[in-house]
Symmetry: C2
Subunit: 208 residues, 2 copies
DNA sequence: ATATAGTTTAACCATCTGGTTAATTGATGC
DNA sequence: GCATCAATTAACCAGATGGTTAAACTATAT
């Protein structure tokens, strides 16, 4: 009948990667089946091994790329010449936009690292391109000292912003069941989310 | 050599349940192995089926109980006769305490609902014991109208508090790699977490 | 045309895994 | 002692799953 996926325009390797991303993101390493990925990509299962040797190798390719993606937006914002307030609001905007396109990404990363913490050593994030927290922390403390924002510990401030932004997406299924709302109501809620978080952070950081 | 687990004092069914919780929480439904659970409980694998019929049944037992646990603390706080500020701070305190004891619980619930959203219908949360949001929302709006707290939409306010509290625990492995800190530093950070979130929320809710 | 190299497929294999079963052990009442 | 019933175990089974392989197909160059 209908094709499992309309991606004939891409070459085989790309189609496998796209299919693998879909399946791994949704099912995780343990739950993903090579046959499912092959079906989704519309190719023979043996081709997965031809291009990527093993399930583990294919998974690592997907995972590493996903993790890098996550890191990149983070680092880009930190490096930019903005005020703290602007950076925080940029975080909120960027992460919420990204998650609208790719809601599974953060949860995927979190669960997979959680299951095999020993498998993801420093090697995954080479020393030279690690997030430079020191500069960001210094900037926050400077603005606090200048009285431009209320005093909060830098790491907690960042975690607050990330938590409010990311959690509302990854916990969507749980919250829908916990709060007893339906999909549509929750989507409406997510649409307001960015503005609401920004307002909340502004209020918290206001100097009295 | 040594026993896989020192729980000889419990009866077989309890030992299986405790072992299943450990394995399911960490590995998820797809990643968990019946043999692992049996080993962890120190019993023969056939006993798992003798007591719980199938992996699915055993999983459902664990999952339902975990989900109820999560709901109970939520509902208890909502029902209590506290002000909004007190309730929010109670949320923060209760969830952070619970997660110190059981860090895998929220992530477990989130990922499993995510993987099979169709399997968890309303039946899991019987109508009569669903979280009563209406009263809570009304209380929030009342306190806003009385000028006791700054105006934020109730559901966003709650999500903010839950996000800041829960996310810092479930994202621990990701944040450790993202921020390039070590386990010990992160544990120290988590110890300060409750006080920091409370301070942040208070500041945000202050009426100017 | 044909040789060559890369690509794709069907069939197959070994292992893992959830689940079953028949036999054994243990306790309890008579 | 022995009958009865629940609890426990070792051995086994069928299907699923990651992975392999030899053959077939395709395109490109000569």
């Amino acid at each position: 009948m209908d094709k499992p996926n309309s991606q004939e325009q891409f070459d085989t390797e790309t189609r496998i990667l796209r299919a693998a991303r879909q399946v791994f993101f949704k099912q995780g390493m343990a739950g993903a089946r090579m046959q499912d990925i092959a079906d989704q990509a519309g190719v023979n299962k043996a081709l997965l091994h031809y291009y990527f040797r093993s399930k583990d190798k294919l998974f690592q390719t997907i995972f590493t790329q996903a993790f890098q993606t996550m890191l990149e937006s983070f680092k880009a914002i930190i490096a930019s010449p903005m005020s703290i307030t602007e950076k925080l609001e940029s975080f909120i905007h960027v992460y919420i936009s990204n998650m609208r396109l790719n809601p599974y990404l953060p949860l995927f990363i979190i669960t997979e690292i959680n299951k095999r913490p020993e498998v993801f050593p420093r090697q995954l994030v080479p020393e030279h391109q690690q997030v430079d927290l020191k500069k960001l922390f210094a900037q926050i403390q400077k603005e606090i000292a200048e009285g431009r924002i209320a005093p909060f510990q830098p790491m907690h401030l960042i975690m607050n912003v990330l938590g409010m932004s990311i959690f509302s997406f990854i916990a969507k299924p749980m919250m829908i069941h916990m709060l007893g709302v339906n999909e549509k109501q929750y989507e409406h809620f997510l649409n307001e989310r960015e503005a609401q978080i920004i307002a909340f952070v502004r209020s918290a950081l206001k100097t009295s």
